[in-house]
Assembly symmetry: C2
Homo-oligomer: 257 residues x 2
């Protein structure tokens, strides 16, 4: 069955989508079959890979709320062996609609079961919140959660709340849940602030912090406008090389079932 | 009564808190009395002004859920004439707890009524979502919503959903709601991407786009680590001058009651 990771952090704009898309792309490039689940109503992972979400086809909302099988929602992307279950704008309504549903936190986990033998890796992108969509993602993963942390002071604030939610899910919904890794993003070497933040995060997560640090690199923010991952768009950029190293580190930490 | 603005955009990390804190600071510096409402459970506006949220005192959660009067929650900040109703971590629970409450979208609006004569301006910071906390803020403002838009491709995606929510609130909860202004943030002149994004936003919001563009400026991200606004921390920085110009523009658009 697939190795399933969730990428989460309720702080906004820290690189969740960028990390999801590029880890998935590097692993697909290594001949594995990879699926991205876009559970963020903004649909940034969907549009980053050039996949339309407004053509009337079924999206993740239909799987969670209308019981449409996930395999009828999954689409190919421009990268070989990389697929996506797209988010659509209607997903924003799912948070409220799921509140009344029995075992609402397990809807995504259940929806994934019929497809986990079809993929080697699954990455779940999440919205910047700790609501039901993110809780569903934390419940569904079997390798744990990857936490991108921006190298900014304000990004330190919410880590306690995030870990609190991870612990609650681990105790009540997914005993296997752990912090698979913490990755520093948008590192700008020209300031002391970034180095100070890295040091704080290292003290907070000594075991889980990845050695690979993602630098601030304009190519990473340009790639989505072409519907490409960084490996396709700018293979010799510092952003690309950093995500390549991160992929190697992640693969070295995989927990065999 | 006070001029009340909400600062909102469900896209994460676009500068909502930075814009809230610094507009409020500049206006307080002009001898007006200003209140910030921190309705983001992360509490970034609270910590940006050096205000503790873990000392057991009442926070916005207590006002929304336990009917504690707002005036018993409001605290002074290090800047004269600038006050804040702090968010605490328990505010994350408010979104779910409010779902069952009668007229849940109007809780903040009602909580503000007893204090609106005490302030000249009120700014409401919101979390990166279109949930009940943000809907409460959109219902409570009387001057409209200020929308920060990061100069990045992915920041364009969600504007349609945001405007859709603004229109729904305007039709059902707050007839006065309008887009008070759109401000471009983290502009990096070294890339074409930023200029392209500004052009797209200008086409989308021809009337409401502020002329002042906030450049990417490290001083803005350092200031919160000292608990200061940009005017106190780095008065001659490009970030400070941009927020000063933005304040002038905002004041020129105030709708007299
Ligand atoms: N290392 C980087 N260098 C430069 N820009 C980056 C980097 N990583 C991400 N970006 C850009 O920064 C913005 C925020 O990143 P991204 O959208 O991946 O964050 P997110 O955490 O998924 O945001 P949200 O909380 O809204 O879901 C995007 O415009 C993205 O293109
Ligand atoms: N113009 C700027 N130049 C450089 N850094 C900035 C600028 N504006 C904001 N920042 C920094 O970028 C990060 C994101 O900004 P901020 O937290 O204000 O966004 P937000 O929209 O409130 O985020 P969230 O969606 O998590 O609430 C913060 O670390 C902030 O200090
Ligand atoms: Mg994202
Ligand atoms: Mg904020």
């Amino acid at each position: 069955p697939a190795f399933i990771y969730t990428v989460a952090n309720q702080k906004g704009g820290v690189g969740k989508t960028t990390t999801t898309v590029n880890l998935a792309a590097f692993i697909a490039a290594r001949r594995a079959k990879v699926l991205i689940i876009d559970s963020d109503p903004q649909g940034n992972a969907t549009s980053s890979l050039g996949v339309a979400d407004d053509d009337g086809q079924a999206t993740l909302y239909d799987t969670l709320i209308n019981k449409v099988p996930l395999k009828d929602v999954i689409r190919p992307t421009s990268r070989e062996r990389l697929f996506i279950a797209p988010a659509g704008p209607e997903l924003a309504a799912a948070e409220v609609e799921m509140v009344q549903v029995m075992a609402r936190e397990t809807l995504l986990h259940k929806a994934l079961q019929p497809v986990i033998e079809d993929y080697d890796f699954i990455f779940i992108d999440t919205p910047p919140s700790l609501g039901l969509l993110t809780v569903n993602a934390l419940t569904a993963c079997n390798q744990g959660v990857i936490i991108p942390v921006q190298c900014e002071y304000l990004a330190l604030e919410g880590l306690g709340q995030l870990i609190h939610t991870v612990n609650l899910v681990q105790e009540n919904l997914n005993a296997e849940l752990q912090v698979a890794g913490v990755v520093m993003t948008m590192y700008d070497g020209r300031t002391n602030l970034a180095a100070d933040v890295v040091k704080e995060v290292k003290d907070y997560f000594p075991e889980q912090l990845f050695k690979s640090i993602i630098p601030r690199n304009i190519r990473l923010s340009e790639a989505p406008s072409y519907g490409e991952d960084i490996l396709a768009y700018a293979p010799s950029s510092t952003g690309c090389m950093a995500y390549q190293k991160l992929t190697e580190e992640l693969l070295s930490r995989v927990r065999r079932q």
